[in-house]
Symmetry: D2
Subunit: 342 residues, 4 copies
Amino acid sequence: MNQVGVGVIGVGLMGTLFARLASQLPDSKLVGVADADKDRAAKVGASLRVPAYANYSELLAVPQLDAVVVATPDSSHLEPALAAAQRGKHLLIEKPLATTPEDGLRIINACKAAGVRLMVGHTLRFDPNYGEAYKAIRSGKLGQVVHVNARRNTAISDAERLAGRVTITFYLGIHSIDAIQWIIGSPVVEVTAISVRKAMTKYNVDDTVMSLLRFENGAIGTLENSWIRPPGAGSRRIGASLLVMGTEGAFRIEPLQECITLYYPNSVEPLQPLFSFENTAFGKISGVYRDEFAHFIECVRIGASPIVSPEQALSSVVVCSAIEQSLRDARPVHIDQENVFN
Amino acid sequence: MNQVGVGVIGVGLMGTLFARLASQLPDSKLVGVADADKDRAAKVGASLRVPAYANYSELLAVPQLDAVVVATPDSSHLEPALAAAQRGKHLLIEKPLATTPEDGLRIINACKAAGVRLMVGHTLRFDPNYGEAYKAIRSGKLGQVVHVNARRNTAISDAERLAGRVTITFYLGIHSIDAIQWIIGSPVVEVTAISVRKAMTKYNVDDTVMSLLRFENGAIGTLENSWIRPPGAGSRRIGASLLVMGTEGAFRIEPLQECITLYYPNSVEPLQPLFSFENTAFGKISGVYRDEFAHFIECVRIGASPIVSPEQALSSVVVCSAIEQSLRDARPVHIDQENVFN
Amino acid sequence: MNQVGVGVIGVGLMGTLFARLASQLPDSKLVGVADADKDRAAKVGASLRVPAYANYSELLAVPQLDAVVVATPDSSHLEPALAAAQRGKHLLIEKPLATTPEDGLRIINACKAAGVRLMVGHTLRFDPNYGEAYKAIRSGKLGQVVHVNARRNTAISDAERLAGRVTITFYLGIHSIDAIQWIIGSPVVEVTAISVRKAMTKYNVDDTVMSLLRFENGAIGTLENSWIRPPGAGSRRIGASLLVMGTEGAFRIEPLQECITLYYPNSVEPLQPLFSFENTAFGKISGVYRDEFAHFIECVRIGASPIVSPEQALSSVVVCSAIEQSLRDARPVHIDQENVFN
Amino acid sequence: MNQVGVGVIGVGLMGTLFARLASQLPDSKLVGVADADKDRAAKVGASLRVPAYANYSELLAVPQLDAVVVATPDSSHLEPALAAAQRGKHLLIEKPLATTPEDGLRIINACKAAGVRLMVGHTLRFDPNYGEAYKAIRSGKLGQVVHVNARRNTAISDAERLAGRVTITFYLGIHSIDAIQWIIGSPVVEVTAISVRKAMTKYNVDDTVMSLLRFENGAIGTLENSWIRPPGAGSRRIGASLLVMGTEGAFRIEPLQECITLYYPNSVEPLQPLFSFENTAFGKISGVYRDEFAHFIECVRIGASPIVSPEQALSSVVVCSAIEQSLRDARPVHIDQENVFN
């Protein structure tokens, strides 16, 4: 395959990003977009000069289509994913794979049956800081992993935008779950979670979920996920971090550390342009999302397995579901799963 | 009282520091030291030019003695504290107050009965960073507290020195417990803890304990305590921090942020001289321990109540005991306690 | 001398601070304040419960007076300093010693003739970070000093308050000059300076002065001093720093690194309470100014030499004058001076 | 042009990097490498499976060759650049363009005469942090530029490797000169430089050069360049930074801020994988050098002007030459140049 023909189903924030990437990368070609919101589809299609469809079935019928990006709302991945697989299209699904293990498994099985590639957009795999962490653990120089503290707190504007349509665990927690299981090479086998709801009562969702984790290899961890970060706070230091302590050494990631800071009369603006959706100077997208999409396109082109395996993506769904069950039942929840991270 | 006569029982690391402070501060006078290790007592006594005793009863009989510092091992505070109270001596007890709620209560009651002051050395109260946090919460500008993430990880050299004589929760966790309850003004009402033991098997103690906390005011939290930090790592960023998220704002403390860094050919040495046991240039102790000791001396001199109340110190012991019970029983442990932090 | 009787001449920002310190420290006693602004003198005197004088001569006549703090405007130190010395009073002069080498020398000679102690308030000597730098250089572990980059940029609010009454070199630059010469143990022997004036034209002063420095020991340096820092910027990273590179190692000081950060909905507030004028929790002043004043009082009490020698303070005045001459003459200016820093 | 055929002359550190990039990017194709060191040429050629030449004239005769990368030693750019231009090949010259303004002008004129693209590898143009700085200045929100402090200090291992073959100003200083002139849009019109030589006497080169800069728009600056940074120090904070103060705001770049830190028993390793020569996880080069090379290839393919213009690259050579003249003559050196940065 010379250039991979790509269609995008769901052109909200992430879907639009993938559509733009598909139209910019040398090895992919955007052939159309679809969104149940007809106007939104039309607008994105027009800006990228491709056909737009309100019904994704029409997009799936486009002859040049090789691969599909599914970026519909978290709980609506199943239908379009199954339809695309059945038509033999390769699949990039924006994380999470699904919001229930059952849906996730059905998607995986459909892709296997159809013989198409399936990758889930777990972006942290493409953040080189996490890559260094993975290598450090694999090198053995940090010894055995003892404990992990993972934080992902997003700005309250995200919670307002999402307005209760997703849970914080499937929105934020799943990033950390995927990254940790991958880096330390061991799955979570038990979770205990508690939550608090003071600011987000209007949306009927929790402000913060905090969890204790036990891993198959004996390590333990905590997970902190919140979406009430003050809007002007920037993400620095209270937004995202990962600390892993081993018997011989440790590492800490603060991926959003600012490298340029602008000081205005009444404000300070720390920037992380290397992680932005849009490259500064040349009108092209660079950074982790581009690298993620390029990896998917290359896997499709050369027939390779993506570094995020379907089974690993499913495992993250299983752990997130267990966290939510622990919240409901107010007790530790055990998880039986094969180690698909080694 | 013009100058407070001070005796120190137990002259290990902390006891020796207090003895030196007592001999340096203008309002205190060191009148003697005691330690079951006769040689150690003699050495410290000689260096500070005061009498040294192997038996603390002899020290308690010194006429000029007004106040006693108890800095014996964590689990050996009860006896000397009761003896000192019964002889009418004011008491500064190095944290923790005791290692069981029962012992703690006996000490408090003895001090009440004797009409002497009792203060426990919860040093973070004297760290101005924590003072700012306290003020910020009290100002109401951060709204209601939603969640807390407290970390205290010490160097493995501390674990080697302590060799299993104390638990990590009473050694490190109690610092965070006291600080959080004080800052947010609400006690812990439930704890769930897990632990891991890979590096410290020889001492029969855990490497790391991680806990979920529920506070009376509805806030939740996580507590991370470990003593296997790599020796060359410095405390920066992986040593100690406290993040508190509120409905209107948040704060983060990294108290040991280096302000001077030395770069040698094969190493980097970040320093935090403002927290050191010994002032740089003038041979005198400054910093948080000095401020803590000076506060105790002033309370004794003018008859004021220390900012660490006996009941608050007891509450921290109660929470730490509950964490250890949760570890033993592998279940959440509820705590009934009056709110002594408001 | 049991308690040193202190009078303060000039009770602006710094003079008021010293008056409060004199009334708080156990070894000093504030006996009166003087200020040409009668109302200001009265207000400060009333708040600290001591007599206030519009004419400093009256203050100098108070019988219990042992030592005088001169905190009048930079260019008005000569007269009160000479008067105080002639009456046998020990002197703490807020930096700079004077704004001309001639005035500085007259003050030194008057103090020598009168046999009184003279100390200039070069605060950085009392910042433990600088103390560690001094020790690191003296240890020899960094090798020979090669180059120095010193920055002191203050907020534009300072420039507005000072309104052209002082130059930026005597206000800010002198801090760095004193610190560098002391730390590396070698005086400046040549300066070349340039300046720019865009924001401060209304006050007829420069915005920024930048200088090249040559030291007697062959090292070189740059000096950056500005007072147009954006008001909301905080001092972090663009306010003050010192980098020293040696043949075997290097160090960097960022003394105002925040250790607690408050995140509000529309702003971020980094705090450095350890350097504040007022201690957080106990209503007492702590930090570097307290340590500086306490050192002066101790030197007076026990008859010791202050760690800032009069000759070193004069040297800083000489270098700052040379920088201003270089600005006027647009050429390098050589400086002949004895090394009083070894 | 579908794919640009690229040859690389000089396969040291940078030349090898460009050869690998040429063989990896979809729009370029490596057709051969040349190096006077025959063995080195052969080794690189073999690893990338292209022909290797000891004589670059042979490489220039390869039919599929469209563009040439010149990565010979700094002072040996003239000959191969002229030869390539005369054969009609587009040119990417590793910075500096040349080590004298005369050589630089000859190369520019040759490219003009031949009608080929010429770009110089000023990498910071492709660092998104510098891109944000450029945009911030252009937005007008920082007001007029007042002063600039630029630092580039490299590890002593670089100085050892280069062994006096280049000067520190042409090796490091030129990076800052290009970036500052571009960002603030105004050329340097006067330089005053001093230097020191304590560690690098064996190579007969300076350890550190420090300069004062005046810009056409009235702003002033300092430049700090050293190559004696302790080997174990990492680049963080003492390696590279740029502070620009304006009348309305300011910015600071610390481009090499670590985002992941590894803590080993006896060392701390801060990493900046986003700037590394080699992407972590996928065996492909990403980061600023890739972006720079891709920009050159795109300019060649579509016939666009590179964002580093030949005249701007020449201007940086002129300023660096003036700095070295100032060092020789021990006086300020004025520079007449057209503003090619607006």
